[in-house]
Symmetry: C2
Subunit: 147 residues, 2 copies
Amino acid sequence: MRFSTRGRYGLRALLDLALHGGNGLTPLKDIARRQEISLHYLQRLMAPLIAAGLVTSMRGAGGGVALTRSPAEIRLREVIEALEGPVAPVECADDPSCCNRSALCVSREVWTEMKNAMVQVLQSTTLQDLVERQRKTGRAETDMYYI
Amino acid sequence: MRFSTRGRYGLRALLDLALHGGNGLTPLKDIARRQEISLHYLQRLMAPLIAAGLVTSMRGAGGGVALTRSPAEIRLREVIEALEGPVAPVECADDPSCCNRSALCVSREVWTEMKNAMVQVLQSTTLQDLVERQRKTGRAETDMYYI
DNA sequence: TGCGAAGTTGACCGGAGCGGTCAACAATTG
DNA sequence: CAATTGTTGACCGCTCCGGTCAACTTCGCA
């Protein structure tokens, strides 16, 4: 019952962009260096974030990636679900038809409660919230928001 | 971000015991048949439940398994954690030392919030709650509490 | 026009864990 | 003793994760 590194690394990358990105493009190389993530693997993680419309990219010299919206408009749920799929403890919480007798399943109510609780936390937190906490917590060590 | 079948099957098995177990011992064979779980696999799942003190067992003819406490005293959290390990979205939510810079990590606060939300649901629900929901939902089809 | 810098994509790979099985064994009843 | 039932260790196929490599495309700049 754990998120994989995809969600964690991806969130780190977007938080990096929110803190260091400014208005322009940031090369993945820079993010990879600051976050100590393999460049190749980070490139892998960018694809779903771009597909989800959270990030834009430009190739070529001077290229890189950037957030498509302000950090205040990016909810963690979007980031996590882009990289990890729907947030839920079991499949049937999202899709009743995945279990042939879900209509009678009492545990499903519990799973649904749990899903709602999980989603609520991620939905109510934005990238900007993390940026502010970061600035409050680690003024001196801006690079140290390991996840 | 899903529970494996271990937690789901295990919960089904304990719910089965709560509904059909009565006072005596129930052979695993019976549970496996009602729940349509492979007997061998169910045996596998029993070991951690016994180790966690939720279930007792007796070998030999007339043997089987039984709950050690009343269903009202068994919280789903115990069942799930016995089979799936600590309920948390990331390791560092339980163990700060697993990440060398967890003291500065702002995401960790989010993970902790999330862990608390997840645990709260499982902690506040008992096997008896499921039994009552089951009796209300499917009087006619007592066997159909698939998860 | 060409070079280099950067993102994109497909293929691949080792390892871990899941879901499941089998066989051998231990304990209990009758 | 035989039958029944739980216990344990070994094993297996599969999927996914984490990660790498190479080839390709696209862009800026000289």
